[in-house]
Amino acid sequence: MDAIAPPVTRFARTPGVARRERLQAVAKWVFFTMALAMIVPLVAIVVYLLVQAAPSLNWEFLVEVPKKGMREGGIWPAFVGTLYLVAISLAIAAPIGVLAAIYLNEYSRESWFNRVINLAVINLAGVPSIVHALFGLGAFVYAARFGYSIISASLTLAIMTLPVIIASTREALASVPMSFREACWNVGATRWQTIRAVVLPNSISGILTGVILQVSRAAGETAPIMFTGAVFFKAVQRGDWFPYRLGDQCMALSMHLYTVSTQVPNVRESIPYATAVVLLGSVLLVNATAIAVRVWLRGRKKW
C-alpha cells in the first residue's frame, strides 16, 4: 500500500529560521525600549519643571526685576544679560568660525598646516568649559585688562563655541557635491566665484543651523561667565532693554538659576523652576527657529 506522501510545503519555516525570527523580534523590542527610555526622562523633566514653575510663570516674572534679595520678583536683568552674552559671543565667533572653515575646506590643500589646525579644532571642541573659563579669566580679564565684564565673558564664550562652529561649517561645506565645484572651475571660475555662486548658497542652511545650535550652548554655560563677567546681582530698571554696557558686569540666566537654587535661603520654591523654564524656553525657541530656517532653505535647494 502506498503511503500518501504528506504535502510538502516549499519555503516552510525551518527551526533555524524561526529562532532567527524570534531573535529579531526581541532585538526590535530592546531597541524600541531604549528609544523610549531616552524620551521618557526628557518629557518627565519638562513636565515636572512646568508643574513646579507654574505659580511663578507669568509675563511679570519675565519683565520684573528680582526683589527682596531675589526671593521675590522676576528675572529681567538675567534674561537681558544672557541675551547680551549670547548675541555678542556669536557676533564674534560666527564670522571668524565660518570664514576660517571656508578657508580650511575650500582653499587650503592637504598640508601640515591644515593638519595642525584640524587637530587643534577637534581638541578645542573637547575642552571642558571650566578650562575655557580659566583661560578667559587669564587672557581677557587680566592679560587684556578687560576686567570682569560682558566683553570678557562674551569673548570666553566665543572661544568656547568657535571650534564647534568651525567643525559644523566644514561639515556643511563638505556636503556640497564636488561635481558642482568642478562644473564651476571648468568654465574658468576662481575659487572665490565658485564659493559665492555655488558653495555658499548650497550650504548656508547647514552653516546657519550649526551656528544657531551654539546659542543653546552659550546660553546654558555657567562656569565660563561666572569666572569672567557674570554677577549675582545687578540693579536694573524693569523691562529695560539696555541696562548694561560692554565694560559692565551682568546677570545671566544660568548663573541666576545657580544663585537662587543654592546660594539664597528661603526663596519662593517656584522661582528656580520658573527660571529654568525661561532658560529652556528661550533655547528651544532659538532651536525651533533654526529648524524653521533650515526647512525653508532646504525647500529652495534640490539636487
Binding site: 574658468g188 571660475a189 555655488v198
Partner: protein
Amino acid sequence: MSPTAALSIVTRGLNLWYGSFQALIDVSIGIRERQITSLIGPSGCGKTTLLRCFNRINERFSYVRTTGEIEVLGQSILAPEVSLIELRKAVGMVFQRPNPLPISVYENVVFGLRVHSRRSELRRSELDQAVETALTEVGLWKDLKDRLGARATTLQLEQQQKLCIARLLPLKPEVILMDEPCSALDVEATRAIEELMFTLRERYTIVIVTHNMAQARRASDECIFMLLGEVVEHSPTADLFLNPRKEKTADYIEGRYG
C-alpha cells in the same frame, strides 16, 4: 580626414605621478583640430588622468606632479605665465555624470559669461541671445525654450548632459573634453549625444574618453589606445579596429582584457 589638419593638443614626454604612483608614462601624442579623438583602454589605464591634464584640473591635488610638455593651440600650458582661468575658458570639460548647477537652465548657460564679466558689462539681450545660440547648437532650444526658468537638476539626464555641453559654448572654447559622457545615459540618449558630437566637430576639437568600444568605433575619427599609463597605439579609428599595428591593441579590441 585630411592629413594636413593642424594639431590642437600636443604632448611630449608627458609623465604624471600621483604621489609615488606614476599614472602617465612618457605620453607623446598629437590630437588633430576639429576631429573627434577617442581615448580607449582598460579601467585604470590613465585615460581620465590624461584628459584632465589638458585643462590642468588635476592640479587641485597637491600630491600630483607633472613633467614633460603639453601644448594646447600652440601654447605650452605648463608655462608659469599661463592663466588657468583663460585656459579653462578655451578647454571645456564634460563629465561622466551630468553636473548642471542647481540653478535655472538659463543661469547654467550664462554662468560662464557671468564668471568672466562684470555685472554691468552684460546686457540682458546679449545673455538671451547667448542662451538661444548655445541651446540651439546642442539641440535643446525647441524643448526648453519655454522652461528656461526650470531648475536644471530636474531635467532628464540626456538634457542635463546636453546642457553641460551648452554651458561651455558661450565662452567660445576651442577644445571640448568629454570623460565617458554617455555612461550614465540610455541607448537613445547616447545616440543623441553622439549625433551632437558630430555636429560640434565642425567647430570644436573633441576628445572623448570611452569604455564602449562600439562608441569609439562609431563616433571617433582617431583612436588612442592606452595601457598602464602608456600610449600603445594612436591611429585613425578604422585602422585601429581593422588592422591594429600592435598585438596588445588587437587583444584589447577583441575583448581579451579590460
